[in-house]
Symmetry: C3
Subunit: 207 residues, 3 copies
Amino acid sequence: MFLLLVLDLAGVLVFAVDGGLTARAATRLDIVGVVSLGMITALGGGVIRDILLPDLPPAALRDWRYLAVALVGGLVAYAASERVHRTTARPIKVLDAAGLSLFAVTGASKALAFGLGPFPAALVGMIAAVGGGTLRDMMVGKVPGILTGGLYAIPALTGAGIVVVSAAVGAESHLVLPAAALVVFTVRMLGLHFDLEPPSAPAPPTT
Amino acid sequence: MFLLLVLDLAGVLVFAVDGGLTARAATRLDIVGVVSLGMITALGGGVIRDILLPDLPPAALRDWRYLAVALVGGLVAYAASERVHRTTARPIKVLDAAGLSLFAVTGASKALAFGLGPFPAALVGMIAAVGGGTLRDMMVGKVPGILTGGLYAIPALTGAGIVVVSAAVGAESHLVLPAAALVVFTVRMLGLHFDLEPPSAPAPPTT
Amino acid sequence: MFLLLVLDLAGVLVFAVDGGLTARAATRLDIVGVVSLGMITALGGGVIRDILLPDLPPAALRDWRYLAVALVGGLVAYAASERVHRTTARPIKVLDAAGLSLFAVTGASKALAFGLGPFPAALVGMIAAVGGGTLRDMMVGKVPGILTGGLYAIPALTGAGIVVVSAAVGAESHLVLPAAALVVFTVRMLGLHFDLEPPSAPAPPTT
């Protein structure tokens, strides 16, 4: 489906810039490091999705457009003026929220197309959405956002769930996918803006 | 096989509680973080096993009971009173030993059912047993127990080996699987209790 | 192909020693930890390659020679006299460069044999080459060399590219594979010797 490809590539692009900027923020990496982390962030979630479905070799390897878009995103992050960073960490968070939104809905949609049931398909969407960022964080030695980042996995699962429920009731997917992505993005950005966090367990004494 | 499923789900449950408690001990995570790390610990080893066999999509996605049990385990860890921690780190180690034991034998058994030879099947069992805990440790920035934890991989490989040898000589698996799991658990707990460690290489000068 | 197997096993051997020595250098690990990290380093890249192709169960599980060679390499690293370390970190870097070279060309060659196009095949070669070392670094809590290590991914991609281009023009692969591996090794060692680094982005303020 053409729409699915376009949304998927848009997710790749924003995640590639996000990962590249993260590389620059986390540690002084050279151009190969910045582009590599950008591409891993961009393609990691989709590759994990394609392994689970399975759809191998993964689309990221079969279709040159994935690699080209990820490469461009990584180079954009490398070339971005320092002012992009100097302001705040905001650009990374907005890009990350956009990638999260797009991959949640394309992941769930692709999983349905591969014959998975509604519940597994929603999970695949969530995993595709958080996978690239999780790899990115693990590589630079940070605890992944899915564990620490407040409203992160929940909006992704919600968006994937909207896609799955819409398919079950026969809704027109050309409208559903962008709308569901917008819901994820909005919830994620509201969560960031108002610093919403799910309830925390009381801190235990160190063991 | 029904017994295999029951033991596998028991392993999922104890690993989910284990992972969730680890999340609370490692860093002050919110409910999503605790449940997420619990579910990753619980399902990670089985997903790696199913990718290697291959049996895709993995059982953890195809069968809702895996997800339900992992979710329950994560919530139990979140709801556990602080006293569970305050005593010592013992509950995590006991749960981890139980999960290790169960996944070693179910992993080897499933690998045999998928036609792998005895030696690869024993390895798949060991990988299934240590996989979830290894992901858990990498995500919270700890060196995985398989590298540092004394008698960890060895008992898992032993238990998987018992399953494989028993199958080769035609022993009745209904008795073998629980017995082999008990052997792994006992060796692991004795190792912890007496602080047994395999021999260490002399510490090199830092390079 | 016999040559492919020999080169692949040579890569497994050098990576196993490399990973085992890294384990000893990074942290005081026992024999199980040293051998485990050696085997993960040795087999990780090939397993990732085989998942992506897909060729499952991976060769590392199906063919006992992979495991045997990796085990021997890990034990060699454990048994190596302390003088191996005391000199410098040089042995690890030379072994790592050798493994990188061998896996880049065998990975690309295997990917072509599985019907992948030239560009994806070159990427699979690069991923196979850097995969084991990346897992190794993530497990001991280091930022992977692919992100920080100067000329690391580039020579691997170059060597894989030589294999792919040679196949496209019908060159005799018995000569091509060792020659391409030699190119990767030479570029990598020159990069280390002259401390060549790709250009770096200006360090951003911490965000």
